[in-house]
């Protein structure tokens, strides 16, 4: 056992120290628990600085070899093991970089009373950050589960910050419930993976030789457990409830970063801990991922609450991530490790991208919520005039999430599609035909994401304000702007510099035993996925050309003609009286999707009759999984509980009898 390090000389020590700093900041918040200014002026900026340091550290140590350590912490004889390798670093980078933007924003956001005392919010927030970091660093099942549970609990308290609202409490409970069902599955998966050695360090799991059946069981348990955390359909129901209920910085953190820790866990288990993956394992995350992608985006298109919309869009992106993970597993299982690396890179890059763009959009929606007190898109609109800073940064996020070049969402989708182009080469009947059709679904999900983002941005920020109160909406404060622009800059940079960032990510493939394929030779500005493939994409040239053409056009038009502009009212087709109510509502914009994907929805509509004097139109969109899976399951659990309840007789003598019988049985077993 190694003693406590005397000096902070390795990246691992530094990372641990930074996580410790977050914990300390959290504790320091308690010094002045009722003081929101202390929290906002000092604590959150300090947390952001720690995040920046962590991101920087991870970016540097990405190039260094893996390293592990035993901490003098934990139960007697059960010290905590920690380890960092390239995979850890990528996710630490994600955590650190995103938390900078979110913490900066939070320092502007939490000025207003949110329900819970500010000191507690600060403690939970920073504990949440630190526990996510420790999930990534843990190298044994105890440490991992400890951090995992801390993460679940601290985020639960953050979700229920506004505990005065009943819906929030319910959402928090649902979240906690599913998080724990998932945690049990993960625990069981670790139990299987130790393979009879009864040592729960990850090293022991790597060394354990599992029979194919047990290995598959471990894999499926992990998929269930991490899938529940990530929000893979059908384990997604907590996501659209918890995300809108939480304060926006917390939603951003949960959606942008916490969901990725589940992805991290899945990658760690599937590629590292179990080791020799069978190719058909990949089909499970692949098909679930594709289904989640389409399902999530279809539901996102039908939402009218902007945070629910974003939550469903997170389900879509988690779907894309798991699709890529499944594809990488399939490729690896059939021995095409270069392609597995390509798919894996797409997954990692998309994880980074999604962390930035989804956090950005959640923060933007938080700013809108802050300024207007309204989450329902049906009462928003025209905010680009009142909140230009928020609107333009949200536009970047929306375009990125819609997967449009030259922003970052496009890069990872491009990489994943390039990987899918090789799927027909998988030497398995049926699979080689079904996989390319998966690409078709993926593309459809991406195109629908554009639909969703046009809806989100168009309804919230464009058009005329749908409520009079929006006229005095205020723009975000300076700290909030800083947070938004940090994340927006991340989206742009990740979009423009994939050729610089991806080679660094390639080290992960070695960490996950995928071998090291030599990167393709390409000029520095151009992204080339595989050497023997004539496909390249160069976002820098792309952006430069668009900018050049656009500015040239403006120049030519202005010099050759004129630049006269007259302002007048919008054209009302000669009827007069164009009101804001004539625009599409959020429901209206989702109507084609509701029509086309009708079987997906549990829908209830209330239509006005022709003679109503005050006609009302209402539509409820429900999730079929609730009635199809969760309610029957809940009913079954309740039935079972009732059946067991007869044990509770209320008479001491009977209880004593139970103890007596138990004692007798134990004695019989022992003797």
């Amino acid at each position: 056992m190694i003693a406590a390090p005397s000096a902070l000389d390795t990246p691992l020590d530094l990372a641990l120290a930074l996580l410790g700093a977050w914990v300390l900041i959290g504790l320091a918040c308690l010094l002045r628990p009722g003081d929101a200014r202390w929290l906002c002026r000092v604590m959150f900026p300090a947390g952001a600085a720690v995040g920046a340091a962590l991101a920087l550290l991870a970016a540097v140590s990405l190039q260094l070899p893996a390293q592990q350590q035993v901490l003098p912490l934990g139960l007697p004889d059960l010290p905590l093991h920690v380890r960092r390798d390239a995979l850890t670093d990528v996710f630490l980078l994600l955590l650190g970089a995103c938390s900078v933007g979110i913490s900066l924003f939070a320092s502007g956001y939490f000025r207003r009373d949110q329900g819970a005392p500010p000191g507690l919010v600060g403690l939970q927030y920073h504990l949440f950050l630190a526990s996510m970091g420790f999930v990534l660093l843990a190298d044994d099942a105890y440490g991992f589960m400890l951090a995992w549970e801390t993460m679940a609990l601290s985020s639960y308290f953050l979700v229920t910050t506004d505990h005065r609202v009943e819906a929030t409490r319910e959402a928090g409970f649902l979240y906690l419930l599913i998080a724990h069902v998932g945690a049990i599955a993960i625990l069981l998966s670790f139990g299987v993976m130790q393979g009879g050695s009864w040592r729960f360090t990850f090293d022991a799991m790597r060394a354990a030789q599992l029979s194919p059946g047990w290995a598959a069981a471990a894999f499926l348990l992990a998929l269930f457990g991490f899938g529940a955390k990530a929000g893979l359909v059908p384990l997604h129901v907590w996501l659209p409830e918890a995300h809108p209920a939480a304060p926006s910085p917390v939603s951003a953190l949960m959606s942008g970063v916490m969901l990725k820790t589940a992805l991290y866990g899945m990658l760690r288990v599937a590629f590292d801990l179990i080791g020799d993956a069978r190719w058909w394992w990949g089909l499970a995350p692949l098909s679930m991922g594709l289904f989640s992608a389409v399902y999530g985006v279809v539901f996102a298109a039908a939402q009218s609450d902007m945070k629910r919309l974003l939550a469903y869009s997170s389900i879509e992106n988690i779907g894309i991530l798991f699709t890529g993970l499944g594809l990488a597993l399939v490729f690896q299982g059939v021995g095409m490790s270069a392609l597995a690396t390509l798919a894996l890179l797409a997954v990692l890059y998309h994880a980074l991208n999604h962390a930035f763009m989804k956090s950005l959009l959640f923060l933007a929606s938080g700013a809108v919520l802050h300024a207007t007190g309204e989450r329902n898109m049906g009462r928003l609109g025209g905010l680009i005039h009142r909140m230009p800073w928020v609107a333009w940064s949200a536009l970047i996020g929306a375009l990125a999430l819609a997967g449009l070049p030259p922003l970052n969402g496009f890069v990872s989708e491009w990489l994943l599609l390039q990987a899918f182009l090789f799927a027909p080469q998988v030497p398995r009947t049926f699979v080689n035909m079904l996989l390319p059709m998966g690409a078709a679904l993926l593309v459809m999900a991406a195109a629908l994401a554009a639909y969703v983002m046009v809806k989100f941005f168009g309804v919230v920020f464009l058009g005329q304000p749908r409520a009079a109160s929006l006229r005095d909406a205020h723009d975000a404060g300076p700290m909030e702007r800083l947070g938004l622009w940090w994340l927006a800059a991340g989206c742009v940079l990740l979009g423009l510099l994939p050729a610089q960032i991806l080679p660094a990510l390639r080290r992960v493939s070695a960490a996950l035993h995928l071998g090291t394929a030599a990167p393709a030779a390409a000029p520095w500005w151009s992204l080339v996925p595989l050497a023997d493939r004539q496909a390249s994409y160069s976002p820098l040239v792309f952006l430069a050309s668009v900018a050049a053409v656009v500015s040239l056009t403006i120049l030519v038009v202005r010099t050759l003609y004129h630049r006269r502009v007259r302002r007048t009212a919008a054209w009302d087709c000669g009827f007069g009286g164009l009101t804001a109510r004539m625009q599409d509502t959020a429901e209206g914009f989702g109507q084609p999707i509701r029509h086309i994907f009708q079987p997906f929805f549990a829908m209830r509509r209330e239509l006005p009759s022709a003679f109503d004097t005050a006609p009302r139109y209402r539509v409820w969109i429900g999730d079929r999984w609730w009635r199809g899976l969760y309610l029957p399951l809940g009913g079954a659990v309740r039935g079972l509980a009732n059946a067991v309840a007869w044990l509770q007789q209320g008479r001491i003598a009977v209880y004593l009898l139970y103890s007596f019988v138990t004692l007798l049985m134990l004695l019989a077993c022992v003797l």
Binding site: L399, G403, A439, L462
Partner: protein, 315 residues
């Protein structure tokens, strides 16, 4: 050779800019003939664009900066798309910046900005058009990408000029999968360019219009750019079609003579495609908007079917 590649690149873009309104006019002329009307002049679109440039721009009071910049972005993306598509030569310097998937992304960017701009003023028609445009888009885009996917699998590259070069230089080969994708592509072309049976470019009938509804608030130079961009889009789609299904006649780096020869060949292809387009439009009836998803889903399925046929017959 480097110089001629750059020359080809510039020539293609300029040709697209110049010829796109002409192609649109040609389609309109054919449609007029086919329905026994007297046809407008071939120069009509140019006159329209010129007139619009001289007019004063009228903006709604609540139009934001997005509304003003959108025409330039839409126009710019269409010009850039013309640079990616090999209409005359396949050796294009810009190829390495954007492959066929990026091209689809480029077209999607134009669509998103067009829709956002349509929603900006907040009129009933604008949002209606934007919603319908995005509805068409989310079905047409995957179909187009699947079409490109099949060609990419055949040629094992996603760079459009390389695909064209592969298909054009190969000894005569029939690809049944391309027959399927050609059907799908034609349907996508009709839908994406607001042609009958999905949209009618000639009317402003509120129940059915898509593209025109989005442009209602635009005037003068902004409208001119939007109209020009629409013409460019049609031209680009036609050229994508040639690149995938009629690749013969483009210059594959044989030098200036082949490049010169490719110009009349392109003109011939365009003339034929315009006639064919007009014929399809004349023969078909406008679909109800509700039927449009069905039409596009069929296109998507044909593209996927092409993929399957390719996988089976090449395996």
């Amino acid at each position: 050779m480097k110089a001629i590649e750059w020359f080809t690149q510039v020539l293609e873009v300029l040709a697209a800019l110049a010829a796109a309104p002409l192609f649109l006019a040609w389609v309109n002329q054919c449609r007029a003939w086919l329905s026994n009307r007297s046809a407008p002049s071939l120069l009509q679109p140019y006159r329209g664009i010129r007139k619009l440039f001289y007019k004063d721009a009228v903006l709604a009071t609540n139009a934001s900066a997005l509304f003003r910049i959108a025409p330039y972005i839409v126009f710019g993306t269409m010009v850039l798309a013309a640079a990616v598509i090999p209409s005359m030569g396949t050796r294009l310097p810009f190829t390495s910046a954007a492959d066929a998937i990026a091209l689809v992304g480029l077209l999607a960017t134009a669509r998103v900005f067009l829709s956002l701009a349509a929603m900006d003023v907040g009129t009933a028609f604008g949002t209606l058009g934007a919603r319908r445009e995005m509805m068409v888009g989310f079905l047409a885009e995957p179909a187009l990408l699947m079409v490109i996917f099949v060609a990419s699998l055949i040629c094992s590259t996603t760079a459009l000029p390389a695909i064209t070069e592969h298909l054009a230089t190969e000894s005569l080969a029939l690809y049944p999968s391309l027959a399927f994708t050609a059907v799908a592509f034609t349907m996508v072309l009709l839908a994406e360019n607001a042609r009958i049976p999905v949209d009618n470019p000639a009317t402003h009938l509120e129940l059915t219009m898509i593209h025109e509804a989005m442009l209602l608030e635009y005037s003068a130079r902004h409208l001119a750019l939007m109209e020009w961009a629409a013409a460019l889009k049609l031209f680009n789609y036609a050229c994508i079609g040639f690149a995938l299904f009629l690749p013969w006649g483009v210059s594959v780096g044989q030098g200036p003579l082949a490049l010169i020869a490719s110009v009349p060949i392109l003109a011939l292809k365009l003339a034929l495609a315009g006639g064919g387009l007009a014929l399809i439009e004349t023969l078909s009836a406008k679909l109800r908007v509700f039927r449009a998803p069905e039409f596009l889903a069929t296109a998507f399925l044909f593209a996927v079917l092409g993929l399957l046929v390719h996988l089976l017959l090449r395996a």
